[in-house]
Symmetry: C2
Subunit: 425 residues, 2 copies
């Protein structure tokens, strides 16, 4: 029973069962059996007493954070060029940077930085956009595999309305996608491919239909963007006049959930009908409040999503989002919901800290299976937070300490599927 | 000519002359003479060539940041209790914490943490609220003096609508204020007192008039709160029905600028008439976007303030604001202005990075005199930013590097009036 993926962590255990149910169990034992959560115990049951015990003393132990939407090649642009809206920003900042990833040397330099920083962050799972370039996307997957994190990675597809250096033709896009899939599908322990049309304006209907067929044939998930910016939404209406909206356009192209596990990032300006479609098709929403703020896109009505029981997680959306920290995105989600409540709609109450914590763990984690909680049978993804580096004069409850580390995070240790991840430089 | 407050820093020099004019001078010499900026030169003029030279190589050197509004006793509460609005939050979180500062031992423990963290931050000047307690406010001033930072600190006055443990009577409030002034007025090199009525609802008209007289007699500045929250504004209307608004109430009590240098924090919901009064009376606005977001107060129309040429700086407003970093407040100011533009008023354009940088340096610094710029004759307050700890694959301009450190700050060195401040734990 002494394999390296079975062990016990001792500390203050905190996790979400639901958006409103936060479990806080002080000074207890979190048991990992073969990479999965066995349970949380006040005393170690006799059958587990031979397992290795790591005592984290007064530290907080929480599920690893889940980033449901980010762009690896844009990490080079984080904290830059923030004075624009989406469509100009793509032209001015994003596309010129992404073109550089045709050069494998540049990709190696840039993706090594991204992979190292993601490894050291509190994130244990992420769904990631690469670029259109097959080789550099494979390189990104190689680099991420060495981190030990669990990631879905997509080679991006774009065959219209894109600069020359980033515009594929449909046939080449399909060939590259298929050959990328052949090389990557079974190569890695914890990195898997995800079909990634950039967004509707940058893909022809034909290419999108091809990609839908690939998802079905190879049983692959899909990630894209939906309803981020008002100009973008108008543009989609022009490009796809037979749809009643942006979500319906994807749906008519057979790219909107149901048997294809799907993440749609943003969803800032959805209609009620679009929310219903998202519910029916079990599409995941990646809520990206730092990005939606930085690009002046608006504030997604997350309270409405939760009231309608939509599936929602959080995304950093680097580099429109300026931080790789899902803790900071939790804070931003709460802050944005407060401003939306104050400025726009007092029927939609702000998010609470508990709800934001749920979204950044179990909410997004569900896209990866049983991920983001410490309930029995969940993948053992955990981070250990040593908040004694945050000095304070008063005594605090566990729930208060969780709130504080969300606002001011400090990580001590990190596990994915029961494997300890290095946090060294 | 070799006194310790005269020296030369070499590096990439960046500072604001105005909200739209950012000066970036690569690889040049910033000369400090007796604690004041002598100038920025491409070559060292012969009369200065005997000065000590510190070569910061490729680092960025910018003016120290200015925090125009924060609460030292609330630092213990940072990142906690963020799910409330102002008036409840004061009752639930703030007042119970501030009551503890009657105990000097507790105050020492808490204020030592605050002072050390402020010292290590990028802030070089701050205007700070203490509590009503005279002794612990003096202790705070003692601790801040040892940091070397330049701070204005106020013993708070409150004689109504406050919990028993924080409610002074008018006479005691005045006696304590006067004796605190006697002890503190000339005791320190860089710490000075500022008269600090908490806000209109917590002070009787009589006490406020007393405080106005003290400001005039002793030539002291004043800091308070104005127009933060809608319920608060309604309450002020009830309490002071003869005023046409919140600012007018202060003005009728002789506590609104003109010969009294005045900071009013927040100013989220001002009328046009109130903005005119602020302009006429040369009142400084401390814009606190992290706080205004966290307490769901709203978004102050900073673009309108700047169009009207009001005097504006930034405040962290700990603990309604969750961060002591003015860099993060710059980011929050830009973000809030974008959301206000998107959700409420497309006539008021979002702030740019240049404007936010100005607000956090020269904008707020002007309250302290010639502070917040590297123009000749300014106080030599500087920070050295070593952004090579932020890895990136591309080459960047100085202006891009400034934007990046604002979003992702790293401090190497810090000076106040030409004195180097320790950044060690």
């Amino acid at each position: 029973m002494k394999d390296e993926n079975s062990f016990i962590l001792k500390g203050n255990i905190i996790y979400s069962e639901s958006p409103t149910k936060l479990i806080c169990i002080p000074q207890s034992y979190l048991i990992c059996m073969e990479g999965k959560v066995e349970g949380v115990y006040q005393e170690i049951p006799s059958e587990f007493e031979n397992l290795l015990l790591k005592d984290h003393q007064d530290a907080l132990i929480i599920p690893g954070l889940v980033d449901l939407h980010t762009h690896a090649p844009q990490y080079a642009n984080r904290g830059l060029g923030m004075d624009q809206e989406l469509l100009h920003w793509l032209e001015q900042n994003t596309f010129p940077e992404e073109e550089k990833y045709a050069d494998l040397d540049y990709a190696k330099k840039a993706y090594s930085i991204f992979a190292a920083d993601l490894r050291k962050s509190a994130t244990t799972r992420a769904s990631i956009f690469g670029t259109i370039h097959k080789q550099s996307t494979l390189l990104l997957m190689d680099l991420l595999e060495t981190t030990g994190l669990g990631c879905m990675v997509g080679k991006v597809n774009m065959d219209r309305n894109s600069p020359a250096g980033l515009c594929e033709n449909r046939q080449q896009s399909m060939e590259d996608t298929l050959s990328w899939l052949m090389e990557s599908k079974s190569k890695y322990r914890r990195i898997t491919p995800v079909i990634t049309p950039r967004f509707l304006p940058s893909c022809t209907d034909e290419l999108l239909k091809d990609l839908s067929r690939i998802c079905r044939s190879y049983q692959l998930p899909l990630q894209s963007h939906l309803s981020e910016n008002l100009d973008e939404i108008d543009w989609v209406k022009e490009l796809f006049p037979k749809a009643i909206g942006y979500a319906d356009a994807y749906s008519q192209l057979d790219l909107f959930g149901n048997e294809i596990p799907t993440i749609m990032a943003h969803c800032v300006h959805l209609t009620n009908e679009e929310m219903d479609l998202i519910y029916e098709n079990r599409v995941f929403i990646a809520h990206c409040p730092t990005s939606n703020t930085n690009l002046s896109s608006g504030i997604a009505p997350v309270r409405a999503f939760m009231d309608k029981e939509l599936l929602v997680g959080l995304g950093t959306d680097i580099a429109a989002g300026n931080t790789l920290s899902i803790f900071q995105v939790m804070v931003a989600a709460i802050q944005a919901s407060k401003l939306r409540w104050r400025l726009k709609d007092q029927d939609l109450k702000p998010l609470t800290i508990k709800e934001a914590f749920y979204l950044g763990t179990k909410g997004g984690g569900s896209f990866f299976g049983k991920v983001g909680s410490f309930e029995k049978g969940y993948e053992f993804d955990a981070i250990v937070l040593e908040d004694n580096s945050i000095k304070y004069p008063q005594s605090l409850s566990l729930e208060e300490r969780l709130e504080r580390v969300i606002y001011l995070s400090h990580i001590k240790d990190k596990y994915v599927n029961g494997n300890c991840i290095s946090l060294l430089d």
